[in-house]
């Protein structure tokens, strides 16, 4: 069922107890769809992801999530000095299915190993997580979501800090996950990548635009990023973050 809606949001307003930090968010994520979540830092991307995970109750609007969601956070935020192997991390995905008193056993570790195989890291299952490269760590966290049997993967800037080869490998993995009917939401700053995916959701404290990548007009990008856009040679557009801008 490639057209099945996995997430449906309509008129969402989200906040942390006070006034809404992002509002007017409405989108549908269908099975097999890759959705790029675009917006500046502080624009509300993480807030939307947290609402989808069920950590925030909407202040207004409706949000229906019809599947289990797995999260792939930025690995810089996890503990790189923590004494766990890649297999330990992948196997953690099984905890969502186990009763609280059960620890993952042989069967769950086998699932973890299979998931590591899916992301091309079976040979490194015994390596310490913090000693893997950035791209490998991202793929281990994808494996954790696979063990969780997540119908939707929420990825928070997964390409940050990756070299070209690692980024290409991760993008191929995301395409493979989508092709088997999973939905993937990817918070990113890379417009070039977003243009290759199925749809985009632009957010800057409110929803600016949603739809196929063709909606990424100059006006939409300016409203999303506050005008910090440069045209690259060849006509491609790129976002200049304030940090980089200072050096120019």
């Amino acid at each position: 069922m490639p057209d099945r809606a996995l997430i449906e949001a309509d008129g969402l307003a989200l906040g942390y107890g006070g006034p809404a930090v992002v509002e007017g968010v409405g989108f549908t994520l269908r099975a097999g769809e890759r959705l790029a979540l675009l917006g500046p830092n502080g624009g509300g991307k993480t807030t939307v992801l947290r609402a989808v995970l069920g950590e925030l109750r909407p202040l207004a609007g409706e949000l229906r999530v019809g599947t289990r969601c797995g999260v792939v956070p930025q690995t810089e935020r996890s503990r790189l000095d923590y004494p766990v192997s890649a297999l330990d991390v992948a196997t953690m995905g099984s905890l969502s299915r186990l009763p609280w008193w059960r620890r993952p056993g042989r069967r769950e570790r086998r699932e973890g190993l299979e998931a590591l195989g899916r992301v091309g890291l079976e040979a490194l299952a015994g390596e310490t997580f913090g000693e893997l490269s950035g791209g490998q760590r991202q793929r281990v966290l994808v494996a954790r979501a696979l063990v969780q049997d997540a119908g939707v993967l929420l990825m928070d800037e997964p390409f940050a800090g990756l070299d070209r080869t690692a980024a290409e490998r991760l993008e191929a993995l995301i395409a493979a996950l989508a092709s088997e009917g999973r939905g993937v939401v990817i918070a990113t700053h890379d417009l070039g990548q977003a243009a290759r995916w199925d749809s985009v959701l632009c957010i800057n404290r409110r929803q600016v635009a949603v739809g196929p990548p063709a909606v990424l007009s100059r006006e939409v990008l300016e409203a999303t990023y506050g005008g910090e856009i440069v045209a690259l040679p060849g006509g491609e557009r790129a976002i200049v973050s304030p940090h980089h801008h200072d050096h120019e």
Binding site: G54, L95, R103, P104, T128, E131, L132, S133
Partner: protein, 280 residues
């Protein structure tokens, strides 16, 4: 080598140290991994006035320590809510206040002499109640850590993603703190108010230097706590030094001896990462 064990008091001391070492070593790994070492020290200090009051009233120390730790937890929760006061500041204010109150009671001219020994513990003279409490502690810690292992591992690794995995990070941390408080209440009588934290933190830090996985780390920490503890008792027996302080010194020695292993592992890690990158 076996000569000290012919004395009944040493047999009892070794039994007490073995039990406390097993519990503190294993639990200490999670204390270190969750960066709760400051909480461990604070809890130990906060029970001091309870210990003194129990000693003055002539009731088992456990009966004084348990309400004291509850009172400290409540006071910290209330103080953290005061505007502009962070949690660490609240802990520091409450704990120093309670510890100061305990010292005031213990060292006042009206108090009977010997109460200051509560600061350093009495590992060489455990009562039957102490031994029974330490045995019960080992069972509670072993069962709880076995049941909570998966949740502790996943929450400590990536707290922000815990909810997505169906875990309540706050509850997991609260369970760890309750276990730590329970262990502190039991262990503080033997190891002393000032030194008990060494048994939680020292063996676990030693084990972290020697191991890259949590399972082996727990086994090494428990073994280190027991062996260093017994070594400390022997030191105390032969050198006539204070029991608790000798144990703390032995634990520190174990930690120092483990430091080169950490350096070796750190040097090996980049090599392994390079191999990993080459493979894929």
């Amino acid at each position: 080598m076996l000569e000290p064990l012919q004395d009944t008091f040493m047999q009892r001391a070794v039994a007490e140290m073995t039990l406390l070492g097993l519990a503190a070593g294993a639990l200490g790994c999670w204390v270190v991994l969750y960066e709760f070492s400051y909480a461990a020290e604070s809890l130990a200090h906060a029970v001091f006035p309870g210990l003194v009051l129990a000693a003055l009233a002539g009731v088992p120390l456990l009966l004084g320590a348990a309400p004291a730790i509850l009172l400290a937890a409540l006071a910290i929760a209330l103080a953290s809510r005061a505007p502009g006061v962070g949690r660490e500041t609240a802990v520091a204010v409450v704990v120093t206040t309670l510890f100061g109150l305990g010292v005031l009671l213990a060292l006042s001219p009206q108090s009977p002499p010997g109460l200051q020994s509560l600061l350093f513990g009495d590992i060489l003279g455990p009562t039957d109640t102490d031994l029974a409490a330490a045995a019960a502690l080992v069972v509670v810690v072993a069962v709880a850590l076995r049941l909570l292992h998966g949740q502790l591992l996943a929450t400590g690794f990536d707290r922000d993603s815990a909810a997505a995995l169906g875990l309540a990070a706050g509850r997991v941390e609260a369970a760890l703190l309750v276990l730590l408080a329970t262990a502190t209440v039991v262990a503080v009588q033997g190891l002393g108010n000032l030194l008990v934290v060494a048994a939680f933190v020292g063996p676990a830090a030693t084990a972290r230097n020697l191991s890259d996985r949590v399972g082996p780390m727990i086994a090494i920490a428990a073994a280190t706590a027991v062996l260093a503890g017994i070594a400390g008792l022997y030191l105390s027996y032969y050198a006539g030094t204070a029991g608790g302080a000798s144990v703390a010194l032995a634990i520190l020695t174990a930690y120092l001896l483990s430091l080169p292993a950490r350096g070796l592992r750190a040097r090996r890690a980049p090599d392994r990462a390079r191999v990993a990158t080459t493979i894929l």
